[in-house]
């Protein structure tokens, strides 16, 4: 310990206090609220990504449910739409494969879209982060702030996205297969998918936000300031 101080005088040096979570929540919530326009763009890309995923899932569950119902009237409509009604046909297997591919694709869209949105919103604030570090913010505080921000935006975006995706595909099925489709909506399955989509989206937005925030927080303040974004 002694070597830390030069021999001439011993000066007290303290350890920076950790900021209470309440304060971090307050600051990050205000930050999202005040940057409403910018946050909306970030959130909307999350909404779009999750809505895409959710609509693929909802549509395929509804079609499956209609097929399983084996209602003669419904079977006719399905056949008119070019959907094979028999359970084990080659066409169905192809349909399954196509759906899986679409889900994978929409997950990729999610991943890229959300990460990009979060990355941008952190990168464009490097200078702010550098300033905060000069003011005595700890790395942990910066990370905490951005985790909370991405969590707020991720939650809002995914919940909205899941709702939008679900409603749109129900609407599309309604238009496509008639009003009777409402009776065939497999609620438990869709709820499960919805929760999965929300968890997935929140996780992706967290990851998308944490990584750049962590990198920014680890930077020396001079470097963070020097970067022109």
């Amino acid at each position: 310990m002694a070597q830390r101080y030069s021999s001439s005088a011993r000066r007290e040096i303290g350890t920076q206090v950790k900021l209470p979570v309440r304060k971090a929540v307050e600051i990050s919530f205000n930050s999202v609220k005040i940057r409403f326009g910018r946050s909306l763009i970030t959130v909307s890309s999350i909404i779009l990504a999750i809505a895409f995923l959710m609509s693929i899932w909802t549509t395929s569950s509804i079609v499956n449910s209609l097929r399983d119902a084996n209602d003669p009237k419904m079977n006719l409509i399905l056949q008119q739409k070019g959907i094979d009604i028999s359970q084990e046909s080659e066409a169905n297997r192809q349909e399954e494969a196509k759906n899986t591919w679409l889900v994978v694709l929409s997950l990729l869209v999610c991943l890229v879209g959300i990460t990009n949105a979060m990355l941008m919103s952190v990168t464009e604030r490097f200078r702010e982060i550098g300033t905060m570090k000069c003011m005595g913010a700890l790395d942990g505080f910066i990370v905490k702030l951005f985790i909370l921000e991405s969590a707020f935006m991720g939650m809002a975006g995914t919940v909205l996205g899941a709702a939008v995706g679900f409603l749109l595909s129900v609407l599309m099925s309604w238009i496509g297969y008639g009003t009777a489709v409402i009776d065939y909506v497999p609620w438990p399955g869709i709820l499960e998918r919805g929760v999965t989509a929300i968890i997935l989206g929140s996780f992706l937005s967290l990851m998308g936000g944490i990584l750049p925030a962590y990198r920014a927080a680890k930077m020396e303040p001079v470097d963070a300031m020097r970067l022109e974004v």
């Binding site: 905060m132 003011m135 005595g136 790395d139 303040p221």
Partner: protein, 242 residues
């Protein structure tokens, strides 16, 4: 006693295979209550030295003592504490947080220091009054002029009663008149509270208020001039500013 002391500070930047020596061994001592200007052409190592003195950057070799504490020995928590309580920063580009009001900007370092919201608000209003912006507490940075923004930044720098104020080209983005006002404000606060002010600048208006001027050239301290000697020198070297 010395607030800042550097011992043979060297800084080498490595860019790929190229090694650039920004500082080639600098020894300076800055006393409590002094008003110091670091001057030098671009690329002289002025900003690098300034960053070292402020604990924003670590030297490749040599030692920097702030308040007799070797900066290199500090861990992240202690360094943050030092930046928060002992040093106040003023930047050329003001660097206020755009989404926060003037008051919130000033109180942010106090929040980091662990003050309660009430304490921080009272002190923040007091500081804003002191810099002449008592009626602008709830304005956002974009609603303020450049000079006013820099005043908010000055108030923010004084938030936790630091021992050292570091101003990096504080007048660089301001016109002549507002620049002079900021310099005078800094000088006033320096005399009033006995805080040490170090500014990196090439603004000659700074010279007349500085106790000492450190000229940096090519990574070394070229010369250090006291104010008494300064007037004559400025007069002879470039008559414009005298």
């Amino acid at each position: 006693m010395a607030v800042v002391r550097t011992q043979d500070v060297k800084k080498v930047y490595e860019m790929g295979d190229v090694r650039v020596s920004a500082l080639k061994g600098v020894d300076i001592e800055i006393e409590q209550g002094e008003y110091i200007s670091i001057m030098g052409p671009s690329g002289s190592g002025k900003t690098t030295l300034f960053n070292m003195v402020g604990g924003l950057d670590k030297p490749s070799d040599g030692k920097v003592y702030i308040d007799d504490v070797d900066v290199a020995q500090l861990d992240a928590y202690e360094l943050a504490w030092l930046r928060c309580r002992k040093i106040g920063y003023i930047f050329q580009t003001f660097n206020l947080i755009p989404v926060m009001t003037a008051l919130e900007n000033v109180t942010l370092p106090m929040v980091f220091a662990g003050l309660t919201s009430d304490e921080a608000r009272d002190k923040g209003v007091e500081l804003l009054n002191k810099v002449g912006l008592g009626d602008r507490v709830s304005h956002k940075p974009f609603e303020l002029s450049g000079g006013q923004q820099q005043r908010v930044a000055v108030a923010r720098a004084f938030a936790n009663d630091p021992a050292l104020i570091l101003a990096d080209e504080p007048t660089g983005n301001l016109d002549l008149r507002t620049g002079t006002e900021i310099i005078e404000l800094l000088r006033e606060m320096n005399q009033e509270s006995g805080v040490t002010v170090v500014s990196a600048t090439h603004d000659h208006k700074m010279l007349s208020v500085s106790d000492r001027v450190v000229w940096v050239r090519d990574g070394r301290v070229d010369r250090v001039v006291k104010r008494e000697e300064l007037k004559i020198e400025v007069g002879t070297i470039d008559g414009r500013t005298a």
